[in-house]
């Protein structure tokens, strides 16, 4: 991998790549700053426009929007006490109090540095860990891959914090949606009901945009109208002095470590990392009693962790083809659309492409500093945009984006259907991320199961008796499924006691 870095850097030093890096990061920061958009919607909206790009620029653009939006959420969190992204919710706790006492610029300075450091370290982790993990996965055949995907699907349990049953059901619905169309083994149409447009199945991108972006707009349309938020006085980002960092570097290191570890675990995300890091930061900081009153340590804890997740979440995605969270599930879909099969073969067959993606991710996190300082001033007045304008613009852009995928009018109808489905499910407390994860992993799950059954002549038990790796992964799957049940039972016992 490291030997491919010179070629990778050559790929990145083209006009297209540089523009992609800068504009993508800038776009991500602005979109992330807009409450209601969020990282997932931002990535989903940009996704269609990457289809006309080369493989590396397409992935780098999505990474830039992803990393930029995670940081961008801190801008609205600090200036208007409304997180632009869920992972910036913890940033509100100390960021807005600082802004209220006239230190908005300084609060953004703390957030910016912590985000940049968190992102850079996660880029290094990605560069070092992903190839190692992929090398292990070279020993995987269809049976082991099936067991691995089952383990990956347990991340559905993790993202379904409110109801495991509903989360699993959403995942199953997603897997079913992926089965509509031609059977992958014998080619026979399934669940098309005579509609020729369904022979190629539901367009994944149309479904992703529908369930995430469109359903969000529908949800907002059904909520009480919010007033335009009061903006804290803000004259520009002010970077903290070196002396101010004394006694805080350990907290930053801890936050970044928490973010990286949590990022690698499938199913967890930046929001989880931010809150765990905030709680740990409050516990371990000598200024812990000031948390929630405008303490920079709180900003460092949340922003360092949430940006550190970005690279870690890409490790299982790039190395194993298992998404770490909903956003990496969308990225996995992008890789597939570009003809890139993530997993063990990717590192071996495309080392330069992979190295360019990793190097690009490193550069993106470096760009967060100058672009963050520049764009925070630009984004600030945009935060006062009325929700009506923002949401209507989202729908128009979604229609444009989905149409560009294949120029197929049917995809627009799929987007509309997915939006309605997402709205209905979300109203009933059914999480949406598992649906996308199921739709992304479903085809490979079916293919590897059927290939494995062909190899074992129809004996499913032989999957686990004949493969120690598959058996080990099955045990991990059962443990991962049991943890929420055990945790729930313990919580009930504690309440009863």
């Amino acid at each position: 991998m490291l030997s491919s870095l010179p070629d990778a850097l050559a790929l990145l030093l083209t006009t297209e790549a540089i523009l992609t890096l800068v504009l993508g990061t800038a776009l991500g920061i602005v979109l992330g700053a807009l409450p209601g958009i969020g990282s997932t919607v931002a990535v989903a909206m940009v996704l269609p426009f990457t289809l006309s790009m080369g493989q590396a620029p397409a992935i780098i653009l999505l990474l830039a929007v992803y990393a930029g939006s995670v940081y961008g959420g801190s801008i609205s969190a600090i200036l208007i006490n409304t997180p632009g992204t869920p992972q910036s919710a913890a940033t509100c706790l100390d960021g807005f109090p600082m802004a209220q006492r006239g230190e908005a610029g300084l609060a953004l300075g703390w957030a910016t540095i912590a985000s940049v450091v968190g992102g850079l370290v996660s880029a290094v982790v990605l560069l070092l860990a992903a190839p190692q993990l992929a090398a292990i996965a070279l020993n995987f055949g269809p049976i082991e891959t099936f067991a691995l995907i089952l383990l990956g699907l347990t991340c559905i349990v993790s993202v379904s914090s409110e109801s495991m049953v509903k989360g699993l059901m959403a995942g199953v619905i997603g897997i079913f949606l992926s089965m509509v169309g031609a059977d992958p083994v014998v080619g026979e149409p399934r669940f098309t009901f005579g509609q020729w447009q369904l022979i190629s199945g539901f367009n994944l991108l149309a479904v992703v945009i529908g369930v995430f972006a469109l359903s969000e707009v529908f949800i907002r349309a059904g909520q009480t109208r919010t007033q335009v938020s009061e903006l804290a006085a803000f004259k520009g980002v002010v970077l903290p002095s070196w002396q101010a960092w004394r006694g805080r570097l350990r907290g930053l290191a801890k936050a970044v470590a928490i973010g990286n570890v949590i990022g690698v675990l499938p199913g967890t995300g930046a929001a989880t990392a931010a809150f765990i890091s905030y709680a740990e930061g409050k516990r371990g900081s000598p200024r812990g009693e000031n948390f929630g009153k405008g303490e920079p340590d709180g900003l460092i804890a949340s922003e360092g962790a949430n940006n550190a997740v970005t690279g870690g979440a890409l490790v299982p995605t790039m190395a194993l083809g298992i998404p770490g969270d909903a956003i990496t599930a969308v990225m996995l879909a992008t890789l597939t659309l570009h003809g890139i099969t993530p997993g063990f073969r990717l590192m071996e067959d495309n080392p330069t492409l992979v190295a360019s993606i990793f190097a690009g991710f490193f550069i993106i996190n470096l760009l967060l500093l100058p672009l963050g300082m520049l764009l925070a001033r630009v984004a600030a007045p945009i935060l006062r945009m009325r929700e009506a304008f923002m949401m209507t613009g989202v729908v128009l852009l979604c229609a444009v984006g989905v149409y560009f995928v294949r120029g197929n009018p049917f995809d627009l109808m799929v987007m509309g259907f997915a939006g309605v489905l997402g709205f209905v499910l979300r109203r009933q407390g059914v999480p949406i991320a598992p649906l996308v994860i199921g739709m992304v992993l479903g085809p490979m799950l079916e293919l590897t199961l059927r290939q494995g059954l062909i190899l074992t002549k129809g004996d499913f038990l032989a999957f686990y008796t004949g493969s120690p790796i598959a058996l080990g992964l099955a045990v991990l799957t059962l443990i991962a499924l049991s943890i929420p049940i055990v945790r729930g039972a313990l919580a009930r016992n504690t309440r009863a006691g």
């Binding site: 707009v217 929700e387 109808m413 109203r427």
Partner: protein, 152 residues
């Protein structure tokens, strides 16, 4: 409250019935003597059985312990927006992006509470026009045009 609980129960019941219906569809398939692993309905049946089991469990959970549904609130607004969007996505390729986006944007802004006709009109005209100019004429990534003219 009972009305809110019924919304959840009805939705879960609908999901359960859809799962059952889809499973029944798989039994219309003729296997033709194919081995199990090669049958196109093998995996769908597994998934649909899981669907039915999970939907049943969720339904019983909702009946036994109805959780707080989101308030009805502006549900009618949401439904109106959904209808407007469904009509819009059907008309985009028939009337062209520009012609279909203008009324949609106006309706969407009105549903979101805007009432100033000047603001609504300006947004509904300017934003779709800007997108048409950007994509059709500058970046040459054409959006659907109307039957009247290639310009929009």
């Amino acid at each position: 409250m009972s009305r809110l609980a019924n919304e959840q129960i009805l939705t879960q019941l609908l999901l359960l019935l859809v799962g059952v219906a889809l499973l029944l569809v798989t039994f219309q398939h003729q296997s033709g003597g194919l081995p199990v692993a090669l049958s196109p309905v093998f995996f769908p049946r597994i998934i649909l059985c899981l669907w039915i089991v999970l939907a049943s469990v969720a339904l019983f959970q909702d009946i036994a312990r109805p959780s707080k549904s989101p308030p009805i609130g502006l549900l009618l607004s949401a439904l109106a927006y959904i209808i407007a969007t469904v009509i819009y996505v059907n008309l985009v390729t028939r009337l062209g992006f520009g012609l279909s986006s203008i009324p949609f944007a106006a309706v969407a802004l009105w549903i979101f509470g805007l009432r100033n006709p000047l603001v609504i009109g300006a947004y509904a005209l300017i934003v779709p026009a800007a997108l048409v100019v950007l994509f059709n004429h500058i970046s040459k990534m054409p959006l659907p045009t109307s039957p009247l003219t290639y310009l929009f």
